[in-house]
C-alpha cells in the first residue's frame, strides 16, 4: 500500500500551518475514496445478485432501497478510510503490519491528529463539542425565529422539522460527550494520580469517531435530512427521506465511541488510582464519571440495536417495525432502555462537577460525601428500570403504568441526596463567588426546578395531559441546560486556567453568567405555561392565542444565545491577548491533584507518582494534604489505602 506517505517532517524545519492540517485533509480524502470504493462494492454485489444496481422502484414504505444500500456500504468504508487517513495508519495499523509506529508531533499540530495523550484528547473533545454546541444553538435560535409568531412562513414545515431534529440529536451528543469526553478525559487521570487513561489508543479512537458522526449529520441533509426528531420512532423513520439512514449510521458510530469511552473510564478508575487513593478518597467528579461510564458501557448498545433494526427495515426489508407483524412499540422500549439511562450519562458528571466546584470554592469538605456516592450508585441502579415512563400514553398495557410510576419517583430519593450534599457544602462555608462558583450555584437553582417538575411527568395522571407538550420541553431543558450545561460552564471556568495556563476574565465571566442565568430562566419558565395552555412540542406553528408567550420566549432565547458570544470573546481574548493573565499552578487554592502540578500540566502529569495521604476535601480540618509526591523510586506497594 502507498498510504504511508505522511512522515513527520525533520525537527529542524519550521512546520507550516498547512502541514498541521495534513492528517485531517488526508482523512477527508481517504473518506471520499473509501466512500467511492464502498459504493462500488455495493453496486458490484447488487449486479452480481442480478438486480439493477440503480433500481429506483420504491419499496412498500416509499423509500428507495438501492440508494440506501449503496449509501450504507459507502458510509462504512468511508469511515474506515477517515480513521486510516487521520492518523491511525501511522499510530496503529503500521504496528500490526510489523512496521515501526510513527511518533506524533509535540507542538500545536498534535491537536489535529491521532494523539494518545489524554490531555490532548480532552481538548480535542472540548473544542469539538463547543463548536457543536454553538451550531446546534444556532439551530435553536432559528427555531425560535420561526416560532416567534403563529403561522410564520420563515421556515417551511419540512425545514423546521429537519432543523428541530438536528438540534435535538446534536445537543444530545453534546450532552453525552461534552463533560465526559473533555473534562473527564483531561482530569480523571490526573485526579486519580495516573499518567494517562488505561487504553490511550482506544481513547483516541473514541474521539476520532466523533467527526464521522457530526459530518454525517450534515451530509444527511443532502439526502433530504430526517424529520423524525432525535428519537427516530418508526414507522416514520422507516418511511421518511433517505437522510434518516445517515442519522442511524452516524448515531451507531457515536454509540461505539461512547461504549469505548465508557470501558476506558471504568478500567482507568478501577485500576490506575495512585497509591493511597482509596475509594473513599476519590474526588466526587471521578465518582460521577465512573457512574456515567457504567451507564454508557451497558446501555448504549440498546440504542445502536434499535437503530440497526430501523436501518435493516429500510435497506433489507426486514419488517421489525413495519408491515405485518411489525411492532412499533418494540422500538420505543428498546430505544428508551438506553435513552433514559442516557439522561443520567448527561447529568451525573454535571452533578459531580458542580459538587466539586461547590466544595473547593466554599472552602469546605464535601458534605455527606458517602451519601453522594451512594446516590450516584443508586441512580445507576434505578436508571435501568424506569424507561417506560416515556411511554405512559404509547398504548402499552395499563398494568405497566403503576410500576413505572413507582420506580421513576424512587429516583427522586438519590437525587435528593445530591441536594443534601450541595446545600450542606455551601452552608457555613466561605463562598468565593468566582465565575465557576456562580455557575455551580446556578446549577443547584435550575436543577431543583427541573427536578420538581419531573414529578409531574412521572405521575401518570398529570403526564397524560402534559406528555409531548412544552411542559416537557421546559422540564428537560431545565435538567440538561440548567443542569449539565451550567455544570459544563462551571467546569470550563474552573479548569480553563489549568488546561491553558491562562486566566479568563472574571468580569466577562460574570457578565456571561448573569445573562445566561437570567435569560435561561426567562426562556424556559414560560414554556411550562405554554405547555399547560395546549402547546405541543415539535411543531412548526401553533394556535394564535399563544402568540404573546412565544414572542416573549423567542426574545429571551435570542438574548440567552447572545451570552455565548460573551463566552467566546472571553476565551479568544484569554488565548490570544498578550495582556491576559497567566495562571499559576493553583489559582483557586484547591486541594485535588491537578492543582499540585503546573498549569498546564507536564506531559507525564506528575514529576513522580503522587502518594495520596488524605481527603481531597480536607478544608478547615488542619489535617493532612490530599497527596504528596513520593521519593523517586517509591513503588506502588509501599503505600496502601
Amino acid at each position: 500500500m502507498t498510504i504511508a506517505a505522511a512522515g513527520t517532517p525533520p525537527a529542524t524545519r519550521r512546520p507550516s500551518a498547512i502541514r498541521g492540517f495534513f492528517p485531517i485533509l488526508r482523512g477527508l480524502l481517504f473518506a471520499v475514496i473509501g466512500g467511492l470504493i464502498g459504493a462500488g462494492i455495493a453496486i458490484a454485489i447488487r449486479s452480481a445478485m442480478g438486480v439493477d444496481p440503480f433500481d429506483r422502484t420504491p419499496s412498500a414504505n416509499g423509500t428507495i432501497p438501492s440508494t440506501e444500500q449503496i449509501v450504507t456500504v459507502a458510509f462504512i468504508v468511508a469511515a474506515l478510510g477517515w480513521l486510516l487517513g487521520v492518523g491511525f495508519w501511522e499510530s496503529t495499523v503500521r504496528g500490526w503490519l510489523g512496521y515501526q509506529i510513527k511518533g506524533v508531533p509535540t507542538d500545536w499540530r498534535r491537536y489535529l491528529t491521532v494523539s494518545e495523550d489524554h490531555k490532548v484528547i480532552g481538548i480535542q473533545y472540548l473544542a469539538t463539542f463547543i463548536v457543536v454546541l454553538l451550531i446546534a444553538g444556532l439551530g435553536a435560535m432559528t427555531m425560535r425565529a420561526q416560532l416567534s409568531q403563529p403561522g410564520n412562513t420563515l421556515l417551511s414545515p419540512d425545514t423546521y422539522n429537519r432543523i428541530m431534529s438536528f438540534h435535538g440529536i446534536a445537543m444530545v451528543s453534546v450532552a453525552v460527550a461534552s463533560v465526559m469526553g473533555s473534562f473527564g478525559n483531561y482530569f480523571v487521570p490526573i485526579m486519580i494520580g495516573a499518567r494517562d487513561m488505561a487504553f490511550p489508543r482506544l481513547n483516541s479512537l473514541s474521539f476520532w469517531l466523533v467527526p464521522i458522526v457530526i459530518v454525517s449529520l450534515f451530509l444527511s441533509q443532502l439526502l433530504g435530512g430526517w424529520d423524525s426528531g432525535w428519537t427516530a420512532y418508526p414507522p416514520l423513520s422507516v418511511k421518511n427521506a433517505s437522510g434518516q439512514i445517515m442519522f442511524n449510521l452516524a448515531i451507531i458510530v457515536f454509540g461505539l465511541s461512547s461504549i469505548l469511552g465508557g470501558i476506558n473510564f471504568i478500567v482507568t478508575i478501577v485500576k490506575m488510582r495512585a497509591p493511597g487513593m482509596s475509594w473513599g478518597r476519590v474526588p466526587i467528579f471521578v465518582w460521577s464519571v465512573f457512574s456515567a461510564a457504567i451507564l454508557a458501557t451497558f446501555f448504549t448498545q440498546f440504542f445502536a440495536a434499535s437503530l440497526t433494526m430501523v436501518l435493516l427495515d429500510r435497506i433489507a426489508g426486514t419488517g421489525f417495525f413495519v408491515g405485518q407483524g411489525g411492532a412499533p412499540l418494540l422500538y420505543e422500549h428498546t430505544f428508551w432502555f438506553y435513552s433514559h439511562p442516557a439522561v443520567y450519562i448527561f447529568v451525573l458528571p454535571g452533578f459531580g462537577m458542580a459538587l466539586e466546584v461547590l466544595a473547593h470554592l466554599s472552602r469546605k469538605p464535601l458534605f455527606a460525601y458517602r451519601w453522594a456516592v451512594a446516590a450516584f450508585i443508586g441512580i445507576v441502579g434505578l436508571s435501568g428500570i424506569v424507561w417506560a415512563h416515556h411511554m405512559f400514553v404509547s398504548g402499552m398495557p395499563n398494568a405497566l403504568l403503576g410500576p413505572f410510576l413507582v420506580t421513576t419517583e424512587l429516583i427522586s430519593i438519590p437525587t435528593g441526596l445530591i441536594f443534601l450534599s450541595a446545600l450542606g457544602t455551601i452552608w457555613m462555608g466561605r463562598l468565593w463567588l468566582t465565575t465557576p462558583m456562580l455557575f455551580a450555584l446556578g446549577f443547584v437553582f435550575n436543577f431543583v426546578i427541573g427536578g420538581v417538575t419531573g414529578i409531574f411527568l412521572a405521575d401518570v395522571p398529570t403526564d397524560v395531559s402534559l406528555h409531548d407538550t412544552y411542559f416537557v420541553v421546559a422540564h428537560f431543558h431545565y435538567t440538561i441546560i440548567g443542569g449539565e450545561i451550567f455544570a459544563l460552564f462551571a467546569a470550563f471556568y474552573f479548569w480553563f486556567p489549568k488546561m491553558t495556563g491562562r486566566m479568563l476574565s472574571e468580569r466577562l465571566g460574570k457578565i456571561n453568567f448573569w445573562i445566561m442565568f437570567i435569560f435561561f430562566n426567562l426562556t424556559f419558565l414560560p414554556m411550562f405555561w405554554a405547555g399547560l395552555h395546549g402547546m405541543n412540542r415539535r411543531i412548526a406553528t401553533y394556535q394564535n392565542d399563544l402568540a404573546n408567550v412565544n414572542l416573549f420566549i423567542s426574545i429571551s432565547a435570542w438574548i440567552l444565545g447572545s451570552s455565548f458570544l460573551v463566552f467566546v470573546i472571553n476565551v479568544l481574548w484569554s488565548l490570544l491577548s498578550k495582556r491576559a493573565a497567566r495562571a499559576e499552578a493553583n489559582p483557586w487554592k484547591a486541594r485535588t491533584l491537578e492543582w499540585l502540578v503546573s498549569s498546564p500540566p507536564p506531559v507525564e502529569n506528575f514529576p513522580s507518582t503522587p502518594i495520596v495521604v488524605g481527603s481531597p476535601y480536607g478544608y478547615g480540618t488542619g489535617g493532612r494534604p490530599h497527596a504528596v509526591f513520593g521519593l523517586a523510586g517509591a513503588s506502588d506497594e509501599e503505600v496502601t489505602a
Binding site: 420504491p58 412498500a60 414545515p157 419540512d158 424529520d227 423524525s228 428519537t231 420512532y233 414507522p235 416514520l236 418511511k239 421518511n240 413495519v322 408491515g323 405485518q324 411489525g326 411492532a327 412499533p328 466554599s362 469538605p365 458534605f367 455527606a368 400514553v393 398504548g395 403503576g402 410510576l405 413507582v406 419517583e409 427522586s412 430519593i413 441526596l417 443534601l420 446545600l423 452552608w427 457555613m428 466561605r430 463562598l431 468565593w432 450555584l441 443547584v444 437553582f445 414529578i455 405521575d459 401518570v460 395522571p461 398529570t462 397524560v464 395531559s465 409531548d468 405555561w529 399547560l532 395552555h533 395546549g534 405541543n536 415539535r538 412548526a540 487554592k589 478544608y619 478547615g620 480540618t621
Partner: protein, 345 residues
C-alpha cells in the same frame, strides 16, 4: 449557627406561605371533561406538595449565598461539617417518606381513575390517524366525518384509536386526555365531556396530533365540538348516521383484490364489470402484507371509497345504482400505479 438556622427557617416559612398562595391561582384554561377535572386536581395537589420542597432548597441556597459570600478570595476555610452522622440519615428517611407518599397519593390512587375504560360507553367513536389528517367514525350509527369530531355532553364516550401509517397521538387539550394512535394496534380511551363548546370559542377543543409524524405534524388537527343530545342526533343524521352499518350494503357484489407488490404492479384486475341500475357493493381484499391500500370509485363527480387498511384486510364500499358507462377506480394511497376501469352495462 443557631441564628443562621432560625433565619433560614423563617425565610422558608415565608416563601412557603407565599408559594402556597400563588399555587391557588387558576392559571390553566378550563377543562371540558370529567377526567380533565381529575387531572387538573392532581396537578394542583402536586403543585401544593412541591411548594415547600422547592422553597426549602431556595431558602438555603439563597441565604447561604447572601450570608456566607466573600468579596474576593476568602481567608481561611469554612466550618468543616463532614455530613456524617444522623443528619443525612434523617434527610434520607424524610425524603424517602415524601417520595413514597407522592407515589401513593396522588400517583397510584388517581392513576386507575384516569386510565379506567368504560366497558359500556354511551357512544363509541373510532379515530383513525394518517399523515396528516384525522377521520372519525361512529360505528353505532355509521356516521363519519373527516372535518370535525362532535361529541354529546354528559355521555360516556369510548374511543377506539388506530393509525394506518406512522405513530400519531390523539390529544384534545381541553379534555386533557391523550393516547397514541399506533399502526397495527387499537388503543382505547374513555371519558365524559362535561360542558358544551367548540373550537371557535376555545382553541383547546381541537383534536391535535401530539406525536411527531412528519411534514405537517403541527397542523394535523381537527376541530372538536361538544353539543347537546339533540344537536348530536341531528349531526349524526347529517353525516351518514342512521344507515345500516356493517360490511355489506346488499348491492350486487363486485370483488377486487390487491396482492403483494400492488403498490407498483397495480390491482390484480384492472377492469371490473357491473350491471346498470342496481346498487353495487364492492368488496376489496388487500392481500399486500403491511401495505395500506383502498379502493375508490368515482362517479358523477363523487368518490366512493373504502377505508385504508394494511393487508391482509377486507373492506367494502356501497355505490348507488349507476347508469351505463365507464368509471375510473383507483387506490388513493397509490393513485398513479393502482388504477382501473369499471364498466357498467
Amino acid at each position: 449557627m443557631r441564628r443562621h438556622i432560625a433565619i433560614v427557617g423563617l425565610v422558608w416559612l415565608v416563601l412557603t406561605f407565599a408559594g402556597l398562595i400563588l399555587a391557588q391561582v387558576a392559571f390553566e384554561p378550563g377543562t371540558f371533561s370529567d377526567k380533565g377535572q381529575m387531572i387538573d386536581d392532581t396537578f394542583r395537589t402536586l403543585l401544593i406538595m412541591s411548594v415547600p420542597v422547592f422553597t426549602f432548597v431556595i431558602a438555603i441556597l439563597g441565604y447561604s449565598v447572601f450570608a456566607f459570600r466573600h468579596k474576593g478570595q476568602p481567608e481561611g476555610d469554612g466550618v468543616p461539617l463532614s455530613g456524617r452522622g444522623r443528619l443525612p440519615l434523617a434527610w434520607f428517611v424524610v425524603t424517602s417518606a415524601m417520595a413514597l407518599g407522592v407515589m401513593v397519593y396522588p400517583g397510584l390512587t388517581e392513576l386507575p381513575k384516569v386510565v379506567h375504560l368504560d366497558a359500556q360507553p354511551d357512544v363509541i367513536v373510532r379515530i383513525q390517524g394518517q399523515q396528516w389528517r384525522w377521520s372519525v367514525q361512529y360505528p353505532q350509527t355509521g356516521a363519519k366525518s373527516n372535518s370535525e369530531l362532535v361529541l354529546p355532553v354528559n355521555r360516556k364516550i369510548g374511543f377506539e384509536i388506530t393509525s394506518i401509517d406512522v405513530i400519531h397521538s390523539v390529544w384534545v387539550p381541553a379534555f386533557r386526555m391523550r393516547i397514541d394512535a399506533v399502526p397495527g394496534l387499537t388503543t382505547y380511551m374513555s371519558f365524559t365531556p362535561t360542558a358544551t363548546g367548540d373550537y371557535g370559542t376555545d382553541s383547546g377543543l381541537r383534536l391535535q396530533c401530539s406525536q411527531l409524524c412528519g411534514l405537517n405534524h403541527a397542523t394535523m388537527q381537527m376541530p372538536v365540538k361538544v353539543v347537546t343530545d339533540a344537536e348530536f342526533a341531528t349531526w349524526l343524521a347529517a353525516n351518514g348516521g342512521g344507515q345500516p352499518s356493517g360490511p355489506s350494503g346488499g348491492g350486487q357484489p363486485v370483488a377486487i383484490e390487491a396482492t403483494a407488490g400492488a403498490a407498483t404492479d397495480g390491482f390484480a384486475t384492472k377492469t371490473l364489470d357491473a350491471k346498470a341500475g342496481t346498487p353495487i357493493t364492492f368488496t376489496f381484499t388487500n392481500d399486500d402484507p403491511g401495505t395500506v391500500h383502498n379502493l375508490a370509485v368515482t362517479a358523477d363527480g363523487k368518490t366512493y371509497a373504502t377505508d385504508f387498511k394494511p393487508g391482509p384486510a377486507t373492506m367494502t364500499v356501497d355505490v348507488p345504482a349507476l347508469p351505463a358507462g365507464t368509471y375510473p377506480f383507483l387506490c388513493q394511497a397509490h393513485p398513479t400505479t393502482m388504477t382501473g376501469t369499471l364498466t357498467v352495462k
